[in-house]
Each structure stands twice: as C-alpha cells, then as structure tokens.
C-alpha cells in the first residue's frame, strides 16, 4: 500500500505548490522586516541630524564588500538552479558550495564589524551610547536589531544550503524534483534583497 501511495503522489505532483508556498512565506518575511523599516522611517524623520552623523561612523568598505559578496552568492545559487535543471549534479554541488562559503564570509565580516562597535561601547543599553543622546541610541538600536535579524536569516539560509548540498550529494534532489533547492534559492534571494535595502539605509544615506 505504501508503494501505491508514492506512485499516486508522484502522478499528482504539482511543481507550483511548493513554489507558491515559498512566495507566500517571503511575503510574510517582508512584512516582518517591514515593521522594522517603519520604525526606522519614524526615528530617522524625528532625528535627522543624529542619524546623519551616526551613519558616517559605519565602515562603508566592509558594507560594500559584504554587498558584493551577497550579490555574487545570489548569482551562484541561481546558477546552481540552472545546473540541476540540466542534470549536472556535480556543478550544482560546487555552485552551492561557493554560495555557502560566501554566506560564511559575509557572517565573518559582519561579526568583525559588530565586535568593533562593541569595543567602542556602541551597543544597545550601553552608557556610552546613552551619553551620545537619543538619536544615536535609536540609530544603533536599529542597526543592531535590523542587521542582527538579517544575520539570523543568513545563518538559517546557510544551514538550508548545507541541507540542500547533502541532498544533492545523496541524489535526493534531481533534475526532476528540485523544489527544496528552488525554495532555498528564493529564500537566499530574500536575504539578499533585504540587505540591498539595509546597506544604503545604514551606510550610504548619511
């Protein structure tokens, strides 16, 4: 009976179902971050000067490097999609490996950046920050909340990519059924696009 069911399910398999589910989940994620973007908008509007000077403190070089890293990683995971569709398991795996490594490098860069801020006493609840005034407190609060939440998503994405890599190696993700890879790709693009908004808001708009 078990085999019968499997056959039945394959007949009914609808590629659109997992993809549609993922898109809806992405809408959810966008609104999740949307709440924070709203808070950012309000406080930027209320403290334009403090936000201007605080933004200049952030390291544009690291930010730019990280932006390039994420953009390239988005390209590699998209290429791995094409590779699996062409049934090139080996290339799929290698491209996923590159994406994974880029994700890790992003996190390493981010943690150096955070550590530097901690050394200067720029973290939520610190006395240094409170002595700088309300605008700086809010700016760094937002900086840590938004990049922190984003970093958490990068971590989840990296774990997802590991799972996908294992499944590609085991032959569980193939040229016929690659929903998990496709959805992980979509998720990774989401992580990327949120960064595309975070980068100018914190580093470039001064």
């Amino acid at each position: 009976m078990a085999t019968e069911q499997v056959v039945q399910h394959q007949e009914e398999y609808d590629r659109e179902i997992p993809k549609l589910g993922m898109w809806l989940f992405i809408f959810t994620e966008l609104l999740f971050f949307g709440g924070l973007f709203l808070v950012y908008t309000v406080y930027r509007f209320e403290n334009p000067k403090a936000f201007h000077f605080a933004a200049e403190e952030l390291d544009v070089t690291i930010g730019t490097v990280n932006t390039i890293i994420l953009l390239v990683s988005s390209a590699t995971i998209a290429m791995s999609m094409t590779a699996i569709q062409k049934k090139q398991q080996r290339n799929t795996f290698l491209l996923l490996l590159v994406t994974f490594l880029l994700g890790v490098v992003f996190l390493v860069n981010k943690s150096f950046e955070w550590l530097e801020k901690f050394e200067h006493g720029h973290y939520p609840g610190s006395e240094t920050l409170q002595s700088l005034g309300h605008g700086d407190t809010l700016f760094y609060g937002l900086y840590f909340a938004m990049t922190g939440l984003h970093a958490l998503h990068v971590v989840i994405g990296v774990i997802l990519i590991i799972v996908v890599m294992v499944k590609v190696k085991k032959g569980l993700i193939t040229g016929e059924r690659y929903a998990l890879l496709e959805n992980s790709g979509l998720y990774w693009h989401l992580v990327d696009i949120i960064w595309i908004f975070l980068f100018p808001l914190f580093y470039l708009v001064t």
Binding site: M1, E4, D14, E16, I17, L20, G21, L24, F25, F27, T28, E29, L31, F32, F33, G34, G35, L36, L38, V39, V42, Y43, E46, N47, P124, G125, Q130, G133, H134, G135, T137, L138, G141, L142, F144, A145
Partner: protein, 529 residues
C-alpha cells in the same frame, strides 16, 4: 487497501489505522480531519479555562469592593482571559478547527497542500500555548498588562511579561503557516470544474482570512520581538527615556491586531453563508456580492487600526482619515447582512439548531456592528473610550458574532465530523439559555459604559451596582447554557443516532461524502459542472 475490497466498508478517518496506534495515531497524523479535531479538543480545553476566568471576573464585579479577588489578581485574571481568548481561541479557532476539517472536502481535494506543515502548525500551537500559560507559574508572578501588552508598562512591569509575549510570538507562526497552507490549497487543489466563483462561501471566507493571517501576523511578530528586546537589551524603541515613543508601539500593535479582528470574524461570516441557504432551502442571495465584500473587508481592514487610538494622541487629519475608513468597512459588512436576510426571505425555513444559531448571529452581529460605529465616530468615541461599552461591543462582535457562528457551525457539521446526530432538544435548550444569558451579560454593559463605568477595574462606584448584578447573573446563566451545549455535544458524539450522508439537504461537496468521511475523503475526485 486490499483488505477492504468493498469500497463501502472503507473505514472512516476516525477508525483508520495508520502507522501509529492510539493517541500517537492522532498527534502524528497528517490527515487534515484529524488535525482539525486535535485543534477542536485543544481549543475547547482552553476555551473552558478562558470562560471560567471570565466568570471569575464577573463574580468579582457582582458587588462593589473586593468580592472574591483583589486588584492585582483581577489584573492578572483579565490579562490571562484576554491572552487565552484572543491568541489561543478566537484567532486560530474557526480556520484551524472547521477550516482544516472542511476546506479540502468542500473544494474537492484529498488533503491540504502541505499536510506535514499542517501538523507542524498544531505542534507550534501547542508549544506557544505552553509558553504563554507558563507565564502564570514562573518568574515574578503572572503578567498583568492586559492582552495588548501596551508600552511602557509591558517593558517596565516586574511580572512575567516575557513568557506571555514569546508565547504570542510563537502562536503567530502557527497562524501564518495555516494561512499559507490554505491559500496554496485553494489556488492549486480545487476539483476539476470548480472555478473561483463556484467555490463555496466558507472557503472564500477562509481565503480572505488566510491573506490577513500571512500579511498582518508578521507585524505583530516583530512588535513583540521588540518588546522582548526592550526588556532584555534596553533597546529603547518604545522608551521615552532613551528617545523612543510608546505611541509607536500602539501603532505597530494595532497594525496587526485590527486586521486580526477580521481574522476572527470573517470565518464566522463564512459559516453563516453556508448555514442560512441550507436551512432556508434557497441558494444564497448575491453570491458574488458576498465574495467581493469578503475581500473588501480583508483589504480595507488593514487601514483602520488607528481607531483604537483616538484618545492616544494623533493629528486631526489622521483621526478623520481613520474614522472615515472605519465607516467604510461597515459597508461591505452591511452588504453581507442584507444578502443573508434576502436569502431567508420567502425561503422554506427549517427550524433546526444551526439555523437558530445563524439567525441569532445576525442579531448579535448587527448590534455589535452598529455599536462599532458609535466607537468609530470621533466625538462619541471620546465619551465611551475604555469603558464597559467597548467591552460589550467587542464581545457582541467576537462572542456574539464569531462565537455564535462557531456554535452554529459545529452543530451544522457535527453529523459530518462524528457521523452521529446531536440531541436536538438539549441543543436548543442550550442555545436559548446561552443567548438569554449573553444578552443580560453584555447588553447591560452597554448601559454601564454609557453611564461611565471604566473597564479593567475590580471595583466600581455604588451607582453601577444594579447593572453589574444583572450582568453577573447573566454570566452565570450563559455559562450554564455553555455547559449544556458542550456536554450535549460530548454525549452525542458517542451515543447519538447514526447520521446519514446529508441530514440537512446541503448542496456543497462535503454532504456527498460519507459521514464521517473516509481517510481520503473521496473515492474519486469529483468534477463540478
């Protein structure tokens, strides 16, 4: 399937023997019908707790001064009453119980699009419930902020707000995943021939609800996370001492929580749109108008959150805009009411329990809706803001609206779910008792609110005594009615008469499958012409 060669003897979903036995066959089942029942049992358990807490509050208010509890206990009790009733019962409620059970059958599918995700939603729900309830027993005492967790109190209070907030956050995930599942199911798994505008109205209502679930819930999620950050990291977003703004919390909170009101009521409207045509022996009047008004309510509902904050401090322009938009929502709601009335007009009405619930829903919903306009207009709002009037309005809509619709729905689909009929006489007696108690309990609170009695106090001035006594006695009658209803349903589920496939002459697909349905619902996927 070979052991059941005769198709008519295929076991029902209740008896079906899967991979696991006994209770494991339920809590690890991915069958949408079993998951629906899991939700039914867990939600009804919490509902009984929530109702008892409500009754305790009414007993406290039966006389001025301290009657059975002091101020702090009262604050804790109304907070827990709010958290359980809102986050554990009415928000998941109808979609999770009746939606899970009926949606796939009504659109002619074997299950939802993601059965395992569906089971995961239930587990997340249970986890969230445990975390939320644990706030009562751990840390610095039960939370006393009210279910709205308003800043600045929610981050200053010494009580165990953290667990309650995290519980609500986790429950949000469960809600999002259910909504996501339903939308995909309706987009991809409708039976051949069932176009969008042939879909029954209950699935349509769930469709509108699901969009609110996935698009509004995350805003609450982030808001609650920020309260956590406020309490643990001192991040300052809602703390004026650090430059933040408590009012921003209210905005963010209501951006979710007002649409959430439509998460609560839309599925109820869907149930009514199924019950009334069946028991009037007529097709629904104005099918398309009901569908469009469902979508309109879901859409406009996003832009009215400010009407919870008319006295909190907003610009005049914002006040006018929110008040105007609030009045706009009343239009699609009224369209529905007129359609339901027109459906009954010249119908040959069968006076059965679900119809009684449906008809009384109309009355309760209209009272709740019209008093909502009193609250939505700026001048009157100031007078009745934060009084018993608000509590009465809210309970008329949610309890009188959604609650009545749910009880109607559970009686209507009871034969389908359990394969047995409920006892009609006890069911009707339960309905009468419940409704009479309800009207005394909440009807009186309109008067108390207009007279100026504030809500959320354990005590009141002597002049409100008479009203409170009537209200509290009403609560006792209503809870008696509730007990009759629930006990009758429990006994009937075991000992009731066997139900035929279609006891009411219903026209939707669920009445064409066995009662109770087989595991796969349909022997063959039906085609709709």
């Amino acid at each position: 399937m070979s052991q059941y060669s005769n198709q008519d003897q295929e076991p029902s979903y209740l008896k079906y023997q899967g991979k696991y036995k006994g209770i494991l066959g339920w809590i690890f089942s991915t069958d949408h019908k079993r998951i629906g029942l899991l939700y039914l049992y867990s939600i009804m358990t919490f509902f009984i707790i929530g109702a008892i807490l409500g009754l305790l509050m009414k007993l406290e208010l039966i006389a001025p001064g301290e009657t059975i509890m002091g101020a702090e206990e009262y604050n804790a009790v109304f907070t827990l009453h709010g958290i359980t009733m809102i986050f554990l019962i009415v928000i998941p409620g109808v979609p999770a119980i009746l939606g899970n059970f009926l949606l796939p059958i009504m659109i002619g599918a074997k299950d939802v699009a993601f059965p395992r995700l569906n089971l995961l939603s239930w587990w997340i729900y249970i986890l969230g419930a445990i975390v939320a309830i644990s706030s009562q027993f751990m840390g610095q005492g039960p939370p006393d902020t009210g279910w709205t967790f308003y800043a600045p109190y929610s981050y200053q209070a010494q009580s165990n707000v953290l667990a309650a907030v995290l519980g609500a956050f986790i429950l949000g995930f469960s809600s999002i995943l259910t909504g996501l599942n339903f939308i995909v199911t309706m987009h991809r798994m409708r039976a051949p021939g069932m176009t969008w505008f042939k879909m029954p109205l209950f699935p349509w209502a769930l469709y509108g609800t699901a969009w609110i679930q996935i698009l509004a819930t995350p805003v609450l999620g982030i808001t609650l996370l920020l309260v956590v950050a406020e309490r643990t990291l001192n991040i300052g977003f809602f703390n004026p001492a650090l430059g933040g703004d408590p009012l921003l919390y209210q905005h963010l909170f209501w951006i979710y929580s007002h649409p959430a009101v439509y998460i609560m009521i839309l599925p109820g409207m869907g149930i009514i749109s199924e019950i009334l045509p069946t028991f009037s022996r007529k097709p629904i009047f104005g099918y398309r108008a009901i569908v469009i008004s469902t979508l309109l309510i879901a859409f406009v509902g996003y832009f009215v959150w400010g009407h919870h904050m008319f006295t909190a401090g907003m610009s005049g322009t914002a006040l006018f805009a929110f008040s105007f938009l609030t009045f706009l929502v009343a239009i699609p709601s009224a369209i529905k009411v007129f359609n339901w009335l027109a459906t009954m007009y010249k119908g040959s009405i069968m006076l059965r329990t679900p119809f009684y619930w449906g008809a009384s829903f109309l009355f309760m919903f209209m009272v709740g809706g019209l008093t909502g306009l009193v609250l939505g207009s700026l001048a009157t709002n100031v007078h009745v803001h934060d009084t018993a009037f608000v509590v009465a309005h809210f309970h008329f809509i949610i309890f009188g609206g959604l609650g009545f619709a749910f009880f109607g729905g559970i009686h209507y689909w009871f034969p389908k779910i359990f394969g047995r009929m409920y006892d009609e006489r006890w069911a009707n007696l339960g309905w009468v008792t419940f409704m009479v108690g309800f009207l005394f309990l909440y009807g009186t609170m309109f008067y108390l609110g207009i007279a100026g009695m504030p809500r959320r106090y354990f005590d009141y001035l002597p002049e409100y005594h008479t009203g409170n006594v009537i209200s509290s006695l009403g609560a006792i009658v209503m809870v008696t009615g509730l007990a009759i209803i629930i006990i009758n349903l429990i006994i009937s589920a075991r000992h009731g008469e066997k139900a035929p496939k279609d006891p009411w002459g219903g026209q939707t697909l669920e009445w064409q499958v066995d009662s109770p349905p087989t595991k796969e619902n349909f022997h063959e996927i039906p085609t709709v012409q």
